[in-house]
Symmetry: C2
Subunit: 405 residues, 2 copies
């Protein structure tokens, strides 16, 4: 994974900035503003949690028109589980942004990330807005990425360039979220900007596909945080003939957006609030897709598997046992004698039994690498799935036990 | 929780011992033998994992007769995922024990705990058996408890005394297992011995009830390790008139066995492979029992909730968010405005909103206690459930990342 430099993020038709609004106690930049020159097509995917934060509720309402002028995102406060007062605060922030930019309140999409249960101080946001608007710049998207970080160790940005009907098109993404795999609610915010000329329904179609192949490999639908939000805006400045979902060009566009989502997702797992390894957990030979998926998640989420990853320990019994129990829970068959486990390119378990000391020594070396694949074949059917996960080490506990203090 | 001294464990009609058979590399005692004077009624509950270890497969077959003479349990090797060779080794150990004791092979129940995937060395067990049989003693049940420990920080034993139809009756229990909540497969072994006069079907009935109120509050049916085994044997030495499941005395007996299971379960969570706090997570006001249960487990199993427990951090947003997402996953309603969270005796969330700084300060103090209750009321219905859980701190990772080395 290559981090994108801030300058490289530039997308024609968009400006961005990150300033300090005093929401965070440490004085760090905590308010991101991203604007389009005029209202442009937009699509969004949001958390399915019944405890969806106030900004999510407001953004879902505002996005219905399919057009937006600005994204206003703060860190340091999730404004979730804050009742009517939280809704009023989120709306108030949109009003203030709209009047600062000279647009409609409904053209502003609010996002928040931070501790659940704290009410957002709309006054502080209002006081910081003039400075934010003044500092908006085509080169400021990187600052916006910095301002939405919470426990992230680094800002996450990615860029793709493609050609659509002879016109060069740029897709840039910025995100925050540190590797916690579901259902553990580290909020994910991702903003994807493109200069392509695309209508809102086509953006929506591309975003659904991309999230499925990207973020849903680290955090699955319905297992999301109170504040998870992914937005895709298109300025049209590339002046390509408009893409619709029926065009042959749609695929190339959706692929570029998918690549952005996958890169950002991998960065989130690699950040991982203290993780040292990035592991692709792949299950093949399942009786059905859902079984493959849930077994990937069970291994990715198991404390004992995660600590084995941290210890670079080829403790295959834990992986196999986790898969066995997940199969049993789902009422699916599981035959140990049909299973195989390969780590990196080394076969560690064949017909459910250890392949021996030599293979284990090789695997122990592979598990010391920054990134590798654990491949479990169930030997039952045609279906497969993969997810990205991280290990669990001391730093995770430090970061999360003391997050609020 | 009061630990029971080894001498206090004594149950008329039973002897026990713990010796070193060289299965563990560190030379610690690793072989437990518990015997009845003659074949006596027995009942068992076993893992439902499709990867059930060889000793579990053998013990399930042997227990069908409803009578047993001995339990043979080793630590240091799970003999799970070891195929036909593993089954042969477990059977061989039973044969050797039977000839050493002068009983039938089918009257010996084998158990193993340790690393999955390692084949049990039946020769080593055979060589240690004469020493084990020679050292059997009425006071040796505590040694047996010591010999089955793996990552346990202390041996788990419990005792109850009751009177049945005028006769004093003793129930003693010993167990191993360090607090990992499902689905994280730290093997649980529990052996419960009584001098009551009870037939096997009644033992079976009492054990099912007791496991439901005890071990299943920390590790649920179907989410168990490869080797989980709980056995209940009755010597009849108390000479009470035989209890059957229809007797009024059955309830007192089942209650005593339940108390043993609950005490042993609480010790497992308190041991918890590095945990510092024992938390009772209680969900009330659910629409149905399964929802209450799964919400308890979701909170107990969440890495972010567990690290909040470790940090003594009243991070109620994490608890509420976990419950919201679990409800959504199960297709159950969830209304933030109906929820309440009480920690200890302090109301921290009312109508889904924080009750304020004063309450939070009190809760932060409560969360520093060794044990406390987190009570979530959903405000939806009549159903409730509780489970015991532990926090997650640095020691857990140390213990589990390096378990095999």
């Amino acid at each position: 994974l290559k981090e994108t430099s801030h300058a490289e993020l530039t997308v024609a038709g968009f400006t961005g900035t990150g300033v300090s609004a005093g929401i965070r106690k440490d004085g760090r930049e905590d308010l991101a503003l991203i604007t389009a020159e005029k209202p442009v097509p937009v699509a969004g995917v949001f958390t399915q949690s019944p405890l969806a934060a106030a900004p999510v509720q407001v953004a879902k309402r505002h996005i219905r028109s399919g057009r937006a002028r600005a994204i206003l995102a703060n860190s340091g406060c999730a404004n979730a589980a804050t009742g009517q007062a939280g809704l009023a605060a989120a709306e108030n922030c949109c009003q203030k942004t709209a009047s600062a930019l000279g647009c409609l309140e409904q053209e502003v999409l609010p996002c928040s990330t931070g501790v659940i249960g704290q009410l957002l101080d709309a006054e502080k946001i209002g006081q910081a807005l003039p400075k934010a608007v003044k500092s908006l710049s085509a080169y400021g998207l990187g600052q916006a990425a910095g301002a939405i970080m919470t426990t992230d160790a680094f800002a996450k940005t990615a860029r793709q360039e493609i050609t659509i009907k002879g016109k060069p098109v740029v897709v840039s993404g910025l995100a925050k979220g540190a590797g916690m795999i579901r259902p553990d609610m580290a909020t994910m915010l991702a903003f994807i900007l493109t200069d392509a000329n695309v209508d809102a329904p086509t953006l929506e179609a591309a975003l659904r596909i991309s999230v499925g192949w990207g973020f849903n490999r680290i955090s699955v639908d319905g297992d999301t945080s109170t504040n998870d939000t992914c937005l895709l805006m298109a300025s049209g400045k590339a002046q390509n003939p408009e893409i619709t979902a029926d065009d042959p060009e749609f695929e190339a566009f959706a692929f570029a957006v998918t690549k952005i989502c996958q890169d950002l997702a991998a960065m989130m797992v690699a950040d991982g609030e203290g993780s040292g390894h990035l592991i692709r957990v792949r299950t093949t030979g399942a009786t059905d897709q859902e079984a493959a998926r849930q077994i990937c998640y069970a291994i990715s989420h198991s404390l004992l598997c995660k600590t084995a990853f941290a210890g670079c320990d080829p403790n295959w019994g834990r992986f196999l046992s986790t898969a066995a129990i997940q199969s049993q829970r789902m009422g699916r068959p599981f035959y140990p004698e049909k299973t195989r486990i390969t780590i990196g390119n080394e076969l560690l378990v064949k017909s459910g039994v250890w392949t021996g000391e030599a293979a284990e020594e090789k695997v122990a070396k592979i598990m010391k690498q920054d990134r590798y694949e654990l491949h479990l074949d169930l030997g039952l059917g045609e279906y497969s799935f993969w997810v990205l996960t991280s290990d669990l080490d001391h730093k995770y506990i430090e970061v999360n036990a003391d997050y609020r203090s």
